[in-house]
């Protein structure tokens, strides 16, 4: 499914975030947690090529389904 020529665009839903920190642990260049609530902070919605694999893994690991990969053409939520 992944086409390296397509830019990878990420989205994060802080309402769903459980603050477990899996994203910040797995892809620290792309995700962080804020100090107050510990919720996801998306540092780079379009991660650099060298951080794409880690970002994809973080999406798969997120326990709350709070981060997603959006295809640029997709109209899906």
């Amino acid at each position: 499914m992944s086409d390296p020529r397509q830019p990878l665009r990420l989205s994060a839903d802080r309402d769903r975030c459980a603050g477990a920190g899996m994203c910040a642990l797995t892809a620290p260049e792309v995700f962080d947690q804020d100090d107050e609530e510990g919720l996801v902070v998306l540092l780079h919605p379009v991660p650099a090529p060298e951080h794409q694999a880690a970002a994809r893994m973080a999406v798969g690991l997120c326990p709350a389904g709070a981060i997603a990969l959006d295809s640029p053409d997709s109209t899906a939520p």
Binding site: A18, G19, A20, G21, L25, D35, G38, L39, M57
Partner: protein
């Protein structure tokens, strides 16, 4: 009523009668799930008979377990669940979660508590504790070395390192440990009678309640004092404090004790770790997967849900076997092998979904520091008894070793 170790054998599955939850781990390798449980893992989700006769479900497949834990249609509320294994003296109807016990709540009540806590346990904050964990680890290793060359690793190392850290973090005086350490063990002990568990929990809460009042009167630089500035009541604060203390005391401690036993029993893996301490982080992930000490996780269906080709009906309880899911060969090839080169990420040892372990980043820091420090300090560390004589916590919600007699050569 006491625990009967042969009970699992008398409940073997037949075509007509669904199995009960196998709990007898002591059938061979102390690190493996019960053989009867493994035998049931051919179906990712199957019917299971509960302690009160309820016909519910058992999830052993990784994908099914993950789907159930991530799905808010499966509730964490205790009062909706049936007990997977009987607890002597406990009524058929489970009471709702005590005040402050967010593990037994759903959104939005769970979310309200969790949001107050997540900011205190972020990856960054926990990594900032690395130096402190190193310091506490060194102190424990110094004391162990001076008292040696034999020791009970649980008493000298596995328990005090995380206990000192969680006490410091919460602002619980470590000197009071005898007031809460045994209570915590009783709360998790599946063989303890309901009355004894209740008494232990009440004592723990009473202790925390006194502490909360003291923090309100005279705040110190710690998590409990921080939380007194929130809108939590004293009762809620004591409940949350008790939960965090219990979780901090009895989970990482068992991972350190059992993990050391596992590494000593797999000398090739230990040798690999010793040769390259840079493997510590992935060794910790693999030990989490392989040992899965916190197990099982129950959920109750709030509505009809289809999972793994089965229809779970509203009101039915599902027992998610984390240890079985983490040994699912479809997810982790050759799952019964401890392999520190494995990509174990994605294991469910900390659970999954909105309730995934709040303290997991602290646990990671503690283990990543403690295991290499232990093996660096004692290059000749070995068991002081035959492996089959190491006493195991066979019936606890948190698995582990009761003690781990070790020895080493003096310099």
């Amino acid at each position: 009523m006491s625990y009967d170790p042969t009970a699992a054998d008398t409940t073997a599955a037949t075509a007509e009668e669904p199995p009960t939850l196998p709990t007898d781990r002591h059938t061979g390798c102390p690190f493996d799930p019960p053989a009867e449980l493994t035998a049931l893992s051919d179906q990712p989700l199957r019917r299971m008979r509960y302690a009160d006769g309820h016909l519910g479900w058992l999830a052993t497949g990784h994908a099914a377990a993950r789907a159930i834990l991530a799905d808010p249609r499966f509730s964490s509320r205790y009062e909706l669940m049936h007990l997977p294994v009987p607890i002597a003296g406990m009524s058929q109807e489970l009471p709702p979660a005590p005040v402050g016990d967010l593990t037994g709540l759903d959104a939005p009540e769970h979310t309200r508590y969790r949001r107050l806590l997540t900011g205190k346990f972020t990856v960054r904050r926990m990594r900032q504790l690395t130096e402190r964990v190193e310091g506490l680890t060194t102190e424990c290793l110094d004391a162990m070395e001076q008292a040696g060359p034999t020791a009970d690793l649980v008493e000298a190392f596995a328990q005090p390192v995380p206990a000192l850290m969680i006490c410091e973090l919460l602002g619980v005086p470590y000197a009071d440990r005898e007031r809460f350490q045994s209570q915590v063990a009783t709360v998790f002990d599946q063989t303890a009678e309901a009355e004894a568990k209740g008494e232990a929990y009440t004592a723990l809460l009473q202790y925390l309640n006194e502490l909360v009042l003291a923090k309100r009167a005279e705040p110190t630089d710690d998590l409990l004092s921080d939380l007194t500035t929130s809108d939590l009541t004293d009762e809620e604060l004591a409940g949350i404090g008790g939960l965090l203390l219990a979780a901090g005391l009895d989970t990482t401690a068992n991972m350190l004790g059992l993990g050391t036993f596992a590494l000593l029993s797999n000398p090739d893996q230990l040798q690999t770790l010793r040769a390259d301490p840079g493997l510590a982080e992935q060794t910790v992930e693999e030990l989490l997967r392989y040992l899965s000490v916190a197990d099982p996780i129950p959920r109750a269906a709030l509505e009809d849900v289809e999972v793994a080709g089965q229809l779970v009906r509203a009101g039915e309880t599902v027992t998610v076997s984390v240890q079985a899911a983490n040994r699912d060969p479809h997810r982790f090839p050759d799952p019964d092998r401890l392999d520190i080169h494995r990509k174990a990420t994605g294991h469910l040892a900390f659970g999954h979904g909105a309730h995934q372990c709040l303290g997991q980043q602290l646990a990671r820091v503690e283990m990543t520091v403690a295991f290499p420090a232990l093996f660096a300090r004692f290059p000749t560390l070995r068991l002081a008894v035959p492996p089959q004589e190491v006493p195991l916590r066979e019936r606890s919600n948190i698995y582990g070793v009761i003690s781990l007699p070790v020895t080493w050569d003096e310099e």
